[in-house]
Amino acid sequence: MAKATNKPLITPEQIRDAYIDYVLTNNEPPKSVYDFAKKLGITEADFYNYFASFIAIEKSVWAILTIEAVEKIKEQEIWAQYSSREKILSFFYSYIELLKTKRSFIIYTLKKHEKRLSAPAILSDAKPIFENFAEDVIQDGLDSGELAQRKFFTKRYKDGLWMQFLFIINFWAEDDSNDFEKTDEAIEKGINVAFDLFQRSPIDNLFEYGKFLARNGKLREKMGI
């Protein structure tokens, strides 16, 4: 123990894995950081070097999986050819595949924080990562003309995708179909609906037309309509 001063003997990954193992074995978090560190044979300080609390570990698991998914899909050769719609689809398929590797723990964290859709505190680290990614993809789509530029709503597109994010992980958590086939359908259909809304649609034209008529009200009166 003499040399364990500024170079701790443990990596954050090891702490994380040990925590996941503990939680899944005991179905509850350790009594205290002190207790947990003692079991690991490290000091409390070693623990706090990396994590502020147990919740921080759980948040980091989500964040890391989200980063991993984004990195993984960008490595695909086909990535550059994908439209924005396909990029988002690709993200969710990879994400669900990654979540599968830690399904028990993921579901444990989701269940623990019951108030799901409203306050998913556990996702607070993952959210900005996803939103950054989504914003980039949306911007690409706006630049290429795939998505419609709308005065107030364009900024809300990423919120729409975040809602899909929450919906999809909750759907997956409850999915009991073979190989989560239903989640695949939920992704394919949900994301397609979202992107259909982001695209230029008859509603835009209707809106434009309404604006035009409002502006040219006088002309209308003259025509006797």
Binding site: Y82, L89, S90, S177, E185, E188, K189
Partner: protein, 446 residues
């Protein structure tokens, strides 16, 4: 190619799609009758045409089993007025494809690799829709491959689709819904089998081996190691679809050659294997550059049980129909006549079904048959038009096996008609049976 932007998501949404079609059809009727007020000569053809196109539009958006049902109805041309058929036939070709990432996803699930890694090249844009899946081109080494990828959730949606299709089938065919159940079930079984790609690969290999001696017929090689329950990999077959082939204005000799290959392919299976490729829609065949028939889909196999095989083929091959009592016995076995039919009903159905089976058997009457003759098909249409109007045929009769056997054989006749081919119809015959009804149960009381 337009990528389909949305697939109706939940059962509710899918139902909504059907409901919408219902409204449209209702609307078509209203339009029809209001026009008719002013123009009494207006025929129902236009109305049928409008209905068919609305149904087609809604079915192709639904994909999956609904599309399959469109195909099936279109195969049963003998049961549908012509206008329906023309529209439905469209569904035998292209349907809009699904997204690239989902294809990658399906590959990763099956093989742990993306298609780009599994193959040397993989075209993410599909070349064809195969009703419950889509086909992609790939290469591996010096091999050019066709890779069929199934849509996720197809199997699960089949039952619910069929439930929704029932009222439409009822409307279209004028059939009582309750009576339809046994048939719907038969269709459901076949459709579910089609979603099992592992089974399809196994059968494809078996059938192409069993049929390998047939002249002028070729089969792709299947690669089980590159196939899974959602993916089938086989050789890419070069060739033309029937319509494209006909557009090249082939010689009569070539038409006959391809027609004969088709005939032999079906009848060899039907009579010798007693299990038949029951999906004779033109998308399942190609005509190769060296003038051979390539069979590229074994999704739908109908096994023919003895208790159908014997009475039915005896009727066709044994001159049984000259003997009224023997014919009636056979009709009973086939469910065409039922236990509690009275004498009048027996006389009526005997006459009607004798007509139908005589039509069916006509190609077998001589050594060869010329399928280009329009009167044969006019007679079939006339017969089916007639029976759809008769109240006696409001409820379907006959054992469930008729669905696929009729579909297969009439489908084959239709393709041969499109080909305008003359074929030797005696190339395969039923395997002789000692217990054929010609020799037994003569004493069966009327």
């Amino acid at each position: 190619m337009k990528i389909q932007e949305s697939m109706p998501a939940t059962k509710v949404e899918r139902s909504a799609k059907f409901v919408k079609t219902g409204f449209q059809i209702g609307g078509n009727y209203i339009k029809h009758y209001s026009k008719k007020l002013f123009n009494p000569d207006l025929s129902r053809d236009e109305l049928n045409e409008n209905n068919a196109s609305d149904i087609y539009n809604s079915l192709s958006e639904l994909k999956g089993s609904a599309l399959k049902i469109a195909q099936m109805l279109s195969m049963d041309r003998n049961m549908l007025p012509k206008a329906y058929v023309n529209k439905f036939s469209q569904s035998q070709y292209n349907a809009p494809p699904l997204s690239g990432p989902l294809i990658t996803r399906t590959f990763v699930k099956s093989f742990g690799k993306s298609p780009e890694k599994l193959f040397d090249s993989f075209n993410p844009v599909s070349t064809n829709a195969a009703s419950i899946g889509q086909v992609h081109q790939a290469t591996l080494g010096d091999k050019k491959l066709a890779v069929k990828v199934q849509y996720p959730g197809v199997a699960a949606s089949i039952s619910s689709d069929l439930k929704m299709v029932k009222p439409f089938a009822f409307r279209l065919l004028g059939i009582n819904e309750k009576e339809l159940n046994v048939y719907i079930k038969e269709v459901e079984e076949r459709l579910l089998e089609e979603t099992d790609y592992k089974l399809e690969v196994r059968r494809s290999i078996e059938f192409s081996k069993a049929c390998s001696k047939l002249k002028n017929t070729v089969f792709p090689t299947y690669y089980p190691e590159l196939s899974s329950d959602k993916i089938i990999t086989m050789d890419w077959m070069e060739g033309l679809h029937l319509k494209e082939f006909l557009a090249t204005d082939p010689s009569q000799a070539l038409r006959n050659k391809i027609g004969q290959a088709l005939w032999d392919f079906y009848n060899f299976q039907q009579y010798e294997l007693k299990a038949v490729h029951a999906d004779p829609h033109p998308g399942n065949f190609l005509i190769t550059p060296d003038e051979k028939l390539a069979i590229i889909d074994f999704g739908c196999i109908k096994e023919i049980p003895e208790d159908f095989y014997n009475p039915f083929f005896d009727l066709i091959w044994q001159d049984l129909m000259k003997d009224k009592q023997a014919t009636i016995d056979a009709f009973r076995k086939l469910g065409l006549l039922q236990q509690n039919d009275n004498a009048k009903q027996i006389a009526f159905y005997y006459k009607s079904y004798k007509e139908m089976i005589s039509l069916f058997a006509l190609p077998y009457a001589g050594k060869a048959f010329d399928f280009s003759k329009p009167d044969f098909f006019e007679n079939i249409y006339a017969w089916s038009d007639k029976i759809t109007k008769l109240p006696e045929f409001k409820q379907p009769r006959g054992v469930k096996h008729f669905i696929y056997i009729n579909r297969t054989n009439f489908g084959l006749y239709m393709i041969l008609n499109d080909l305008q081919a003359t074929v030797n119809t005696q190339s395969f015959r039923p395997v002789s049976k000692n217990n054929s009804i010609a020799n037994t149960k003569r004493s069966h009381a009327l």
